[in-house]
Symmetry: C2
Subunit: 444 residues, 2 copies
Amino acid sequence: MTRDGKMRLGLSMRYLGYHVAAWRHPSVPADGALSFAHFLNTARKAEAAHFDMVFFADGLGIRANDNPKGSLARDMRNAELEPLTLLAALAATTRQIGLVATASTTYNEPFHIARKYASIDHISGGRAGWNVVTSWSDEEAQNFNRSETLAYADRYERADEFVDVVRALWNSWEDDAFVRDKASGLFYDEARLHVPDHKGKHFRVRGPLNSARTPQGQPVIVQAGASEAGRRLAARCADVVYSNAHDLQSAQDYYFDLKRRLAAHGREPDDLLIMPGIVPFVAATRQEAQDKYDELQELIHPLSGLAALYGQMGDLSGYPLDGPVPDPSDKRPGNITSIANNLLEVARAENLSIRQLYQRVASTFGVRLLIGTAADIADEMEEWFRNDAADGFNICPPILPAGMDDMSDFLVPELRRRGLFRTRYEGTTLRANLGLKPNVFKRS
Amino acid sequence: MTRDGKMRLGLSMRYLGYHVAAWRHPSVPADGALSFAHFLNTARKAEAAHFDMVFFADGLGIRANDNPKGSLARDMRNAELEPLTLLAALAATTRQIGLVATASTTYNEPFHIARKYASIDHISGGRAGWNVVTSWSDEEAQNFNRSETLAYADRYERADEFVDVVRALWNSWEDDAFVRDKASGLFYDEARLHVPDHKGKHFRVRGPLNSARTPQGQPVIVQAGASEAGRRLAARCADVVYSNAHDLQSAQDYYFDLKRRLAAHGREPDDLLIMPGIVPFVAATRQEAQDKYDELQELIHPLSGLAALYGQMGDLSGYPLDGPVPDPSDKRPGNITSIANNLLEVARAENLSIRQLYQRVASTFGVRLLIGTAADIADEMEEWFRNDAADGFNICPPILPAGMDDMSDFLVPELRRRGLFRTRYEGTTLRANLGLKPNVFKRS
Ligand SMILES: Cc1cc2nc3c(=O)[nH]c(=O)nc-3n(C[C@H](O)[C@H](O)[C@H](O)COP(=O)(O)O)c2cc1C
Ligand SMILES: Cc1cc2nc3c(=O)[nH]c(=O)nc-3n(C[C@H](O)[C@H](O)[C@H](O)COP(=O)(O)O)c2cc1C
């Protein structure tokens, strides 16, 4: 829970929503992932609802595989706007909501990243945030001169140094270093310039950044690492963590662990906000909410469903969809025998058909699913919020823009009735609205 | 001259204008280079005047040196918005004008560049252009893990391959490859996907790009290379060249040489537009135009002036500004004896003081200066346009936004009276307004 007792809410709006069949829904603009109007429309709804931020996840290329053959051509994750250009365009067309986009430390250079996010922070008047990721997939590596992804430890070692360089660049100039005195002709005060001149294992970056300190001081840093290395990075540098948890206990464990780590870095528990993701299906009645979900489940193309099973079960496209899940065979990809048993056990225990099994796992890309009335979903959120499992939520509507309308119409009013969510923005920057300490850099 | 007999006009608007003292002018917002409102305001004026495009030059860091000591702190080129984020923000807030920004092939990866410009082309509805540069300075190298710039030949070899990869990525999907058929669940037509799978000397990039073909087919490619390697690249790939020439003869030589090279690549003379830069001081009378110029010249801080002489003359800060230019001494930086004689000869021949010499060379960053009435300047432009020296001009106002107002108030009406400039946009894309052939990619 946050100090002020209010939840932070983010809207995650990649593609057309977090349900795998979102693009087939009658209300969804199927070409929306390449349409600025689609994102602007939805971001403005989130702003009208006073969400803290919109968030764009990202991958540097198409990460889905074409297994079974033909599944990729049924997948909406093939074309989208690039998140930093999208963020900049939203910076110029929204006024209050925070704007967070993902950028990889593995396939970028710190100077570019420092500069681009600083620029968006200037354009937006202090609303930019960077979701730091290390990119896990071989598909991304293959777009950047490699055949496979970097080893895990190397990725995070590079990420650690990368973030330090970016922050040093953001602090090249103290607040008010640019005096711009027309009369004397002095543009900046030399005593308030600090050239980073970083020389490390992965990077040599002299600087300074050719930008002033930004309206937020520094853009907000977001992170989403679950591993030990990811948690270390978050505890040291992040202002916000997007997490993924499916039950209260594991969310609490994660929350407790991350907050506990902060002291070692001279930070307080409130300096890092933890926001688990949820995919909410909400309606006036439970039945209507369930109907909304079922409607989308029926729209999952069998090839998309089988693709979601492929990694664990191999190619099941030769079997009847409404028949039983077959025993594992040699046709599966290698090295997955033990994992395959998970899904197989589930299928056996509940006597599921192939279709039922893929509907279980393909729907929300792994994010926690909540179906019910606004009160049902607010109950779940409140329980996590009040019991040290969350400082807010990263809301991933199943379809856009309708899923955001459901938030405005049902969920947000319910949270406000409970005193759990703001009715106006407290500040003008993302940092201020999140309730984080101001970021000041002034020596004297 | 162009086939339609109309000039193409671009507005180059880096920082606060092309005069070194621009920021000190009373009408100029000294913090404008970090202000989106400043650029939007000026871009909208250019759009109202029906300019083809706005153009942002770029350097990846601060390239000016602090010689003599203290000169850098008087220089406006220390802080600015990042051009690709700025371009994306303008894409969302302008409607018709072309949007061109510079990106370096030396310190970027093709996948990022292909993706970002494609995204801006989608956001803007077909108005994006990429100015391809190779970055010459050591200061930029030092922000990207190097101590000095790459050798010239390596830079252009990399640039050649870089542009090819970007274009292959832009052609990952044929026009209309994304069928997005909700009923059948087919998102794209597999026969219209072309995975680049590039394997070259500098890059291995599999692709495909996670974006559809853009409204222009491909963003417009701009180039500004003067050397043999630069001209080869332009002749092979560029749609527009920004050139720099100070007299008709050399402009004609360059024009003739570049147009001549096109046939070898199966291209026609009209497929490449050549647009030299000019810095126009224009007013109702010649005297007023001269006064505008003189006012700015007086605002050049002596340290900025001496910095412009430093490379050739060494540190002259110990000499009286209004006294004679001294003989070269050992205090000059190395290896410049022969070049130093140029400036020295000029100073001696015209009996110039130090101040007069730096006012001669420091003012417009090397771009061609034109001072006079609209008729005077239109005469110069028309002469170049009608005599195979230019297809249009890259206009670099000395101060912003007032220098753009002068274009709208004086120069554009004069060009229109002569039938040399449009009164409305012909098309909806930059490519169409420039009169370039449509870029189509459809096999069947
Ligand atoms: C809510 C959430 C959002 C994420 N967004 C992205 C993303 O946009 N791009 C990406 O490459 N990885 C993303 N990830 C993956 C994480 O960066 C990270 O790789 C993953 O959580 C595994 O953690 P670890 O690397 O610490 O093991 C996301 C993870 C979560 C939980
Ligand atoms: C009008 C014009 C604009 C240019 N803009 C840039 C720029 O924004 N960034 C950059 O690094 N170089 C820029 N250049 C430099 C060129 O890319 C190129 O390096 C220079 O003209 C020398 O040509 P060469 O490299 O073929 O010898 C520009 C040159 C001209 C003439």
